[in-house]
Amino acid sequence: MLAVFVGAAGAQGLKPWTDGPTPALRLQDLAGKTHDLASLRGKVVLVNFWATWCEPCREEMPSMNRLRASLAGRPFEILAVNLGEPETRIERFLEKIPLDFPVLLDRDMARAKAWKARVLPASYLVGPDGRIRYSHLGDIDWSSSEVQQLVQRILPR
């Protein structure tokens, strides 16, 4: 009956995207700086929707730090979009699990709806041309060799 099972996965969990154009993503981070996905053309961007109360989100975040570190110096960015939580709560979370990438604030959760991120965590790998290439619902080991190889393949030459 409840057929949807979101399993922990390696790169095989990343699904090629066939669901249309990339929705806009322009949000402020915790410091008030605006980030616009459109201005990151030429880079691969991992867009990750998350919340502090979501256990699988918390579990996968350290592996996102590792993925970013492994691609240091390459045109690769991560944007972690928080779903409607107060800033003080996010800041407390970051004291425990520091992230090496910006946390954007989707205060009214309109972006999560536009991206159809109905399940958390929801992740989207956006290619250098701005098109979503892969998506994944549920947590994943972003530092696995399969994921790293897949990201390497879509990085601009």
Binding site: L2, F5, A51, P86, R89, V119
Partner: protein, 364 residues
């Protein structure tokens, strides 16, 4: 004390006398009216400009199981008024403090009486409450956070296959919730925002706001009128369920919501599948088996009855907080909400926004 510092909403409130907490609550018996008083004290710790708070108030409908006796409030606010969401009649005290107020505070006292509620869903009566066609449509419609299409409709259809009456359908949904809403350790995603996302995530874990919303949504999708009722536990359980009552007069974190469905010839029927799961999870020694006698008894009792050691606030969905500059819209009004400088305050952050709710018994 001047008018700004103290406003009284009800003369009836003065007619009750406070009793020691344990004395007032320990002797409660089924069927007897008991009086309660709750005091909610809200402080904004670090005001940044104009501050506002919204404090839920007891349901004003007179029922056979709850009766409001009145509200008082005092504090250093610039304005305070009883407001309503306008659609469901969810009442709240809307409080505003001037930007110059360095230590905003409000203390709201609400008095009410309750008695246990028991409805036999199998017993039909010619005198039973009826719903108009409009009311039936209202209580079977989708809300923003309780959609009734897609996977919700499909799941409801599967659960109620072969069931004919409203009671049969609602009971099938109740049993399904009890049997299926646990956290599956293999599930790796979290639903958010609405019951459709919970079903899509395959993660049916959650608290009352999630589980009873699932009951209401599945009932509505099956054509059975249903609604959530949001409230607060105010006293210990007399049925020896430690998990279904409060253990001290401090009830700050005792918010709890329940559900009702409407059966033709019977009326509104109280249920609480989320509390069956709470017994499974929390009743000592904890993590009880589904066939444990305490779970079996709770499962039977919570289809058709509510122990009224609990205060009903309202049945509002998709509530827009009146006067909110942040335009805050919330799925339901069960907690104290606040904002300062146009930003919503974190109910869970004691450094920014502190509130305490204390309960005591009074002579009804």
């Amino acid at each position: 004390m001047n008018r700004r510092e103290f406003l009284s909403a009800s003369a009836a409130a003065a007619a009750v006398t406070a009793l020691p907490w344990r004395d007032a609550l320990a002797s409660r018996t089924t069927g007897e009216w008991r009086g309660y008083e709750i005091v909610t004290r809200v402080t904004i710790q670090k005001p940044q400009g104009v501050s506002r708070a919204w404090v839920p108030l007891p349901m004003t409908d007179e029922t056979e199981w709850q009766s409001a006796l009145g509200n008082d409030w005092k504090g250093n606010f610039s304005s305070a008024r009883v407001a309503s969401d306008g659609r469901y009649g969810a009442t709240m005290l809307q409080v505003e403090w001037a930007a110059a107020e360095a230590a905003p505070v409000v203390e709201v006292t609400s008095r009410f009486r309750t008695r246990d509620r028991l409805v036999d869903p199998a017993k039909r009566s010619a005198d039973a409450e009826r719903l108009s066609a409009d009311e039936r449509a209202f209580y079977t419609s989708a809300t923003e956070f309780i959609p009734t299409d897609g996977i919700v409709r499909d799941t409801a259809r599967d659960i109620t296959k072969g069931k004919r009456s409203d009671v049969e359908k609602a009971e099938a949904i109740y049993q399904w919730i009890v049997e299926n809403t646990f956290r599956d350790p293999k599930t790796r995603g979290c639903g958010w925002g609405d019951i459709k996302s919970m079903l899509e995530a395959g993660n049916l874990g959650g608290k009352c706001g999630d589980l009873n919303a699932m009951f209401v949504g599945l009932c509505r999708a099956a054509g059975v009128p249903a609604r959530d009722v949001y409230g607060l536990r105010v006293a210990p359980s007399i049925h020896n369920y430690r998990s279904l009552g409060v253990g001290s007069p401090n009830v700050t974190r005792a918010q709890h919501c329940r559900a009702e469905f409407f059966a033709q010839g019977v009326g509104w029927v109280p249920v609480d599948p989320a509390d069956v799961r709470k017994v499974v999870l929390e009743e000592p020694p904890t993590n009880l088996a589904i066939d444990h006698p305490m779970v079996v008894a709770a499962r039977k009792r919570l289809f058709g009855s509510w122990e009224m050691n609990w205060l009903a606030y309202n049945s509002g969905h998709d509530v827009t907080l009146p006067g909110s500059s942040a335009g805050t819209k919330i799925p339901y009004l069960m907690y104290v909400n606040g904002e300062t400088g146009g930003k919503a305050l974190d109910q869970l952050d004691p450094d920014a926004f502190r509130y305490e709710i204390r309960s005591s018994g009074v002579k009804a």
